[in-house]
Symmetry: none
Subunit: 133 residues, 4 copies
Amino acid sequence: MIRVDASSFIPIYEQIKKEIVRLVATGQLKVHDPLPSIRDLAAEIIVNPNTVARAYRELEQDGLLSTQKGRGSFIADGAAPEASSKLKAYLGRIMDEAIAEAKTFDLGGDAILGLFEDRLRRSADRRRGGRHE
Amino acid sequence: MIRVDASSFIPIYEQIKKEIVRLVATGQLKVHDPLPSIRDLAAEIIVNPNTVARAYRELEQDGLLSTQKGRGSFIADGAAPEASSKLKAYLGRIMDEAIAEAKTFDLGGDAILGLFEDRLRRSADRRRGGRHE
Amino acid sequence: MIRVDASSFIPIYEQIKKEIVRLVATGQLKVHDPLPSIRDLAAEIIVNPNTVARAYRELEQDGLLSTQKGRGSFIADGAAPEASSKLKAYLGRIMDEAIAEAKTFDLGGDAILGLFEDRLRRSADRRRGGRHE
Amino acid sequence: MIRVDASSFIPIYEQIKKEIVRLVATGQLKVHDPLPSIRDLAAEIIVNPNTVARAYRELEQDGLLSTQKGRGSFIADGAAPEASSKLKAYLGRIMDEAIAEAKTFDLGGDAILGLFEDRLRRSADRRRGGRHE
DNA sequence: GTGGTCTAGACCACC
DNA sequence: GTGGTCTAGACCACA
């Protein structure tokens, strides 16, 4: 459920944080649900436990999860709306980024929208097993 | 013309590279045009000359510019199509990212497109001095 | 195993690259073998770590080694044939240089070959503790 | 008559020096012959006059040429044997370099000689307009 | 401990 | 003035 891209410039602990926020926001993790243990998650995504630990620690500081010694980590009370707003903000931000980037191309609004529609259609095609570009 | 964000996770030298690719792709820099000297650009964007030098060096390895010792760096022959395709690939990538992110919300294609249109309109509004969100 | 000459016109990072290519081509470094850490090699050959880092980075761009943050650098898959051909090209180039130089003496092919054989014999003699020229 | 390789790591003024030594050693330039003026040579090999000036200056320090203000530079008395021995030493050095390089390949003497013969034959073929490898 | 980025500043070759 | 190399040393992400 959690995916991470080692070649990205974004630190892995940041990617892990975002993934967990996403799972909470989309209801795949609910309040009081246990998170995978640091060691398990580290093994699953082939990453050092320290890296997972840092992600968990920072999420706890954000109030999104609570860690109980010896028992593990759990989604905190009230995490869902918090995560939801975070994720929405994140989505808005990267859409704005795509838009800003497109504008530096000297593309007009229609052209940008057309390009986006095109990528959207392609991604739907890929899902249905359509050919890659 | 070249802007970098020191707080970004993306290394500054990568940002510089991308900016130059953008300027070439959009025709603001043409074949044989001189680039700002390493020292000048470094001073302008308040960055160490070595950082700019690294960006220039890697762009030269990519064949986008050619540098002559003691004279400066210049946009290489055939840089424009190369830059154009690089920038298109880059733009496609971040649009795909936005789309992938949007899909985690279980939104249909139309809803995603609507959201994007919304952001696009907002960004146009902001430009015209409309209210910030 | 890696030697560099600080007084040479060839940049140190290029010398390091060539040495590693040589070690791979001669089988002294095999696929997936770890390279010395940047700091260790820098200390060994008495050079700044940044200089070694540059050599490693460029070799990685050439696909000859792969580095994993926090773990170190390793000989990449398929590095051996690549290194071999690189080294052969390099050797051919310096032999051609020697030949071109010899030809400026208006020597015939046989004379040039004789001269080369002579130096070759001398170098073997030196190895066996023979007199220096 | 003088050729220079801008992409070489060897400084251009060193290459110019070597070329002149070669011309003297091979008798293409004789004692008291005038050298091309700094500006002419610079224009011919497309190089900055300062670079040529430095080569001439260092050759003068070596006693190979003498410069007379307003008249130009001339091959100095006794330059020929000096140049000859320099060039021979140089040839020996690069042959030794080729040999040393070949030995790091773990090649035996016969193999090295074979390789050299091969390159020699190729170079003769090229001269006669034979096909390139 | 590892590598990666960045800074500050030196010296050199070349224009 | 230009770019190129190298050093010294800082801070960060990651194992």
